[in-house]
Structures are given as structure tokens and as C-alpha cells.
């Protein structure tokens, strides 16, 4: 369960003595419930990554509150991180080690017992089809294999909340399908899944709830059907472009 209330984030940029401010998030509120996939849909620069980073405590909100499973992101940042599995495509793995070793390593950092780690590892390796390359150096793996390894590592502690920034970015169709199936399965098991994407197809196909984020503001919030009906259009694309056009004028 993720609850976000009036989240604002202002970045301060110091360049050559002058300070400029970028208001990346202008006060957004939404809620992701267990058993649902929530999709944050928006063009590049809308503030999707910033939102997800705030939730995962990588950066601090300028104002507003974020609670994850009842833990406040500022006061209980460590607890928040312990219930979250966070993934982004620009988060790389140390190529020197094997997927197997990295899963052990992060399992131990997550305070799991060796037995739990071993058990969980087998489950993830099977689910993500990692049998063949679990003992190969990560450097030697393909992009898809690396992505699977990242997923396995982020989910080693079996978190209740999964946050995934652009889950299908840069993946081939097969791996992308593999990943989205995986996310659906987790939601069905009762976990809270929050993803960001700039691809409408992804939002349409896998998200139970969608928030359209443009220029740091949520313009639409609801299920696919609700959003389409409310805007009296046929599909998400029309809604999306409606907001982009308004902005252009």
C-alpha cells in the first residue's frame, strides 16, 4: 500500500554561480492498493522517475507525505526500503559477480537467513528462467538476462511493494512479456505494484489503475475504463494527446 499526499519536489541547480529551481513535482496525490498494478503514465521529463525515487527514499520530498505500508518515508526510511523492491533500467549491476552471488549478497544485506535466501533464490530463478546463467559473470550476460538478474536481486527479500521505473525499456518483446507477466502474477498474489511508463500500450495492457502525469501534475486518475469514459473518447491515446495539446498551446 502506497499513499502519496500532495507530493512536491523542487530541484535546485547551481550552475556558474546562478541558482535555478526546477519544480519537478507540483503536488501530486494518489494511492496504490495491494493486488493492483498502478501505472504512472507520462512523457519524458514529466516527473515519473522523481516520484518513484521519492517513494523509495533515494531523494527527499520538498513537501507532502509518502507512506508505504504505514511507514513514513522520512521518519522510517529504512523500514520503507525494507518493504520495497525498487528497480530502474539505469540501475546497473556489478558485472564482476554472478547472479547467484549477488542474490546471496543482497539477501544477507536484507537480513535474511541463509535457508531463506536459498529457498527464495530457487523460486526466483525458476520464475524468471535464470537456470542457465545463474553462475555466469553478469558482464557476460545479454541485456534481457541482466534485467532478469536485477529483478531477482530487487525481489530477493520478497517485498510487499514493487516499484519499477520503465519496466520494459530496452527489452526485446519476449523478455518484456516475461517481465510484465511476472508483475501481473505478483499483483495477483496481493502485492502492491507501481510502475512508470511513457508507453501507452504498457499502461493499457497491464495496469489496473493509471495516473497520467504531465509536467509534474496528475491530470487523470482512475482505471482505464473510467479515464476513457470520463473523457468521452475511445482510447487512452486520445486522452493522453488531449493533455499534451493543451500544454502545447
Amino acid at each position: 500500500m502506497i499513499e502519496i499526499l500532495d507530493l512536491k519536489k523542487v530541484f535546485e541547480n547551481k550552475k556558474k554561480g546562478t541558482v535555478s529551481y526546477k519544480e519537478a513535482l507540483k503536488g501530486i496525490s494518489f494511492m496504490c492498493k495491494p493486488g493492483e498494478i498502478f501505472g504512472l503514465l507520462g512523457p519524458n521529463g514529466a516527473g515519473k522517475t522523481t516520484t518513484l525515487r521519492c517513494i523509495s527514499t533515494l531523494i527527499k520530498p520538498t513537501s507532502g507525505t509518502i507512506t508505504v505500508n504505514g511507514f513514513d518515508s522520512l521518519k522510517d526510511d529504512r523500514k520503507v526500503r525494507s518493504v520495497i523492491g525498487f528497480l530502474t533500467s539505469d540501475m546497473k549491476l556489478d558485472g564482476f559477480f554472478t547472479p547467484d552471488y549477488m542474490m546471496d549478497y543482497f539477501g544477507r544485506l536484507n537480513k535474511m537467513s541463509p535457508e531463506d535466501i536459498a529457498e527464495r533464490k530457487e523460486v526466483l530463478i525458476k520464475e524468471l528462467h535464470m537456470e542457465e546463467f545463474r553462475n555466469k559473470k553478469i558482464d557476460k550476460l545479454s541485456t534481457g538476462m541482466k534485467q532478469k538478474t536485477s529483478i531477482a536481486i530487487s525481489l530477493i527479500h520478497n517485498p510487499d511493494v514493487i516499484i519499477f521505473d520503465e519496466p520494459t525499456n530496452g527489452l526485446d518483446v519476449v523478455t518484456a512479456k516475461n517481465v510484465t507477466d511476472f508483475l501481473k502474477k505478483y499483483a495477483r498474489e496481493g502485492k502492491t505494484v507501481l510502475i512508470s511508463t511513457h508507453i501507452m500500450g504498457v499502461a493499457e495492457q497491464i495496469c489496473d489503475k493509471i495516473g497520467i502525469l504531465i509536467e509534474g501534475l496528475i491530470k487523470e486518475l482512475g482505471s482505464l475504463d473510467e479515464i476513457v469514459k470520463r473523457n468521452k473518447t475511445n482510447n487512452l491515446e486520445d486522452v493522453f494527446f488531449k493533455y499534451l495539446e493543451v500544454q502545447d498551446v
Partner: protein
């Protein structure tokens, strides 16, 4: 916090010590580089001086008419007994040609005598022998030095002759001498090994500091800025480990690695010492004399571990601030220069140092290391050095953790 730091440290060490390149540069190279370097240098200088000594040279002496002079005969016999040369007596007219030959390195020496040296000697008129040589030729320079010595011993012989002819005892020349009647071993009262320690006291502290710094630079920059740059740090940050553990784990791993490197450089130097002590420093001390006691080894450890932590913290604080390895290297470089100059300067100082030096980090470690090697260390100063290093490291680590928690620094774009 410490258990997480331990897990992180173990992983970092595994990464460092299973990477063949790192192991080679950090451990193997310092271990073999100095011995190999000094062995090669020693061999070259040995064979070179052997070559010079065995070289058969050509010496011209002018003018040729001195045949009947006893002084001249004496000089020639001294030359022949001390130098491996062929003596060519030449007429005055031939002098320019002889000089030309020396210039072209075809011959080595030209010695010219004034007229009537025996007459001058009898008349108590000092006379001057001219010795021409070629300073650009090692052989010629060598014969020149030997000829100088030969002239001095000729002078001694002549003085004795003169005194004898006047019936004056030759003892009149040396009313006082030093250590003629006692063997050299009995005169030198230095503690066993402290002389070798003196040579090492200048070299080792700065070599140790240097290796500690260079190796923490090599691995420290990569484990922090490198990971930041490659994007591999983020995955650690989104896990539940806190940032202090990450910093601590990485710091300890780099300390271990730089320590390993410093130790192997010291061992390398010890091995090299067998060669370079004699050849390069012309010291009579034996390497085998240089054995540290348990006390001194303990003092070394107490000095070195805190300073290693301090140097690694210095490197890591730059690495944390920098966006990438290149920027980090740029930030560390000036610090490296400062540390290098401080430690070279301090290690070449005399035995007594001003009090403030005992309280200044890095400088006090160099002073302390030196005092251990020359076997005159005091526990008080060793502990002061260790404590100041630890206080400064603590401050640096505190700021580093603050920086690690600061998103403006961690996500600088």
C-alpha cells in the same frame, strides 16, 4: 550497522582480490619491483666499475728527458703499481697531438712535468705537475683521480725523504691521530641494526605513506566514484542498508587493500635492501642486523592502521563528492602532492622535531615511523599520532556519511 558493513567489506574484498589485474598491481608489483630495480641497478653499477678498473689505458708523459731523475722514477713506479696503463713518453712537440687524442677518447691522460724537478726539490722550490684528462670519459676521469692520488703519495714520499735527510723524526708530521690504535667495530656504539634503520628511517616512512595513498587511490576511487558512474551504487542505496554501513564497508575494504599493498612494498624494500644498502648507500651495516622487536612491530601497527584509515578517508571523501572517476582523480591529485611533500620533507628531517609536529596528522606518523626504525620511539608520541589520525578520520567519515545522505551530492548532474 557493523554487520552490514562487514558484508559489504567482504564483497568488496572479494572483488578486489579475485581480480588478477588488481592483485598484480597492488601486491605483486610492489613486492618485486623494488628488488628487481635495485638488483638491476646494482648489477649495472658493479659491472661498470669492474669494467673501468680492468680497463687498460694509455697515458702520455712529457717531456721525455726525465730518465735519470729519481723523483720521476718514483712517480712512474707509483703509477705503474696503482694503474693499469701503458706509459708513452713523448717530446714536447707532440703535446698538442696527445691532447687531441684525449679529446677524441683515443687516449686517457697527459701528464706534463716542469724542467729540472730534482733541482727544484733540492732548492726547496715547489713544482707543479699538470694532468690533462677528458671529463666526459669515465676511463679518463678514473685515471685522473688515480693520478691525483699518485701525486699525493709522491708528495708524502718526498716529505719523508726531506725529513730523513735533515735527521728529523717523521713523527713530527702527525702529532695526533684518531682511532689508529683501536678497531672500527669497537668504536661504533650504535644499537645493533639502528644504522640500517637510519637509512630506512628516511626511506620507509615515505614509501609506506606513498603506497598507502596510491593504492587507496587506485581502488578507492573505483569503489565509490566508479560505482556512481557505472550506476551500480544505486541498487545498494535502495536496499535497507543504511548509508553509514555502505561507507564503512567500502572504507574497510580499501584500507585492507592499501595495507596489503604497503606491506608488500615494505617487504620488497627489505629484500632489495640486501643489495642497495651496500651498493647505493656504501653503508657497512648488514641487513640481517635490522630486526624489529615485538614492541616495535606493535608500534608500527598502531601507527599504520590509523593513518591508513585517514588516507583512505581522504581519498573516499573526494570520490564521494565527484561525479565520476576522472573528476575524483582530479580532486585527489592535489591532496596526493601535499601528502607526498609532507612525508618526504618530514622523513628527511633530523631526529629532534618541533612539538607541533607530534600533533599534526600524517606528519606525526612519519616522525613516529622514523623513530621506530631508528629504534628511538616513544610510546607517548606513537599513541598521540594514532589518536590524531583517528580523530581526523572520524571527522572525515562523519562528513562522508553526511555527503552520502545528501541527494544533491549523490545525484549531482
Amino acid at each position: 550497522m557493523f554487520s552490514d558493513a562487514y558484508i559489504i567489506m567482504k564483497k568488496e574484498l572479494k572483488r578486489l582480490f579475485t581480480d588478477r589485474r588488481t592483485v598484480f598491481f597492488m601486491v605483486v608489483l610492489p613486492l618485486v619491483m623494488l628488488p628487481v630495480m635495485y638488483t638491476v641497478m646494482g648489477k649495472i653499477s658493479q659491472s661498470r666499475s669492474a669494467d673501468i678498473r680492468s680497463y687498460h689505458g694509455t697515458v702520455f708523459i712529457a717531456p721525455e728527458m726525465q730518465k735519470q731523475s729519481p723523483i720521476y722514477e718514483e712517480f712512474i713506479s707509483i703509477i705503474n703499481s696503482q694503474m693499469n696503463v701503458t706509459i708513452n713518453e713523448i717530446p714536447e712537440a707532440y703535446i698538442p697531438t696527445a691532447k687531441e687524442l684525449i679529446k677524441e677518447k683515443e687516449a686517457q691522460l697527459l701528464i706534463t712535468f716542469p724542467e729540472n724537478i730534482d733541482f727544484a726539490f733540492d732548492a726547496i722550490q715547489p713544482f707543479d705537475i699538470h694532468v690533462f684528462y677528458n671529463g666526459a670519459s669515465d676511463y679518463s676521469s678514473y685515471f685522473y683521480r688515480r693520478t691525483y692520488d699518485a701525486v699525493n703519495s709522491l708528495a708524502d714520499t718526498l716529505i719523508y725523504l726531506r725529513l730523513e735527510s735533515l735527521n728529523i723524526p717523521t713523527e713530527i708530521l702527525t702529532p695526533v691521530t684518531a682511532n689508529r690504535t683501536i678497531s672500527p667495530e669497537l668504536v661504533n656504539l650504535a644499537k645493533k641494526g639502528s644504522e640500517v634503520g637510519k637509512v630506512f628511517g628516511v626511506l620507509l616512512p615515505f614509501i609506506i605513506i606513498l603506497y598507502l595513498f596510491v593504492s587507496s587511490m587506485q581502488v578507492g576511487i573505483d569503489t565509490v566514484s566508479g560505482e556512481k558512474e557505472r550506476g551500480t551504487l544505486a541498487i545498494l542505496l535502495v536496499n535497507q542498508v543504511d548509508r553509514a554501513s555502505i561507507i564503512l564497508g567500502k572504507l574497510l575494504a580499501v584500507v585492507c587493500a592499501s595495507f596489503a599493498s604497503a606491506i608488500s612494498s615494505v617487504v620488497g624494500l627489505m629484500i632489495a635492501g640486501r643489495y642497495f644498502l651496500k651498493d647505493l648507500f656504501r653503508s657497512s651495516a648488514e641487513m640481517s642486523d635490522f630486526i624489529l622487536g615485538a614492541d616495535q612491530i606493535l608500534q608500527l601497527a598502531i601507527l599504520l592502521i590509523p593513518v591508513a584509515i585517514l588516507l583512505v578517508s581522504l581519498v573516499l571523501i573526494c570520490a564521494t563528492y565527484a561525479r565520476n572517476s576522472k573528476e575524483a582523480a582530479g580532486l585527489v591529485m592535489p591532496l596526493y602532492m601535499v601528502v607526498l611533500i609532507l612525508s618526504i620533507g618530514t622523513s628527511s628531517m633530523g631526529e629532534t622535531v618541533p612539538t607541533w609536529m607530534h600533533y599534526t596528522p600524517i606528519i606525526n606518523t612519519v616522525v613516529g615511523l622514523k623513530s621506530v626504525f631508528i629504534k628511538s620511539s616513544s610510546w607517548g608520541n606513537v599513541i598521540i599520532a594514532a589518536v590524531t589520525s583517528l580523530i581526523f578520520s572520524g571527522l572525515l567519515i562523519f562528513f562522508m556519511i553526511r555527503m552520502f545522505k545528501n541527494e544533491k551530492i549523490l545525484f549531482r548532474i
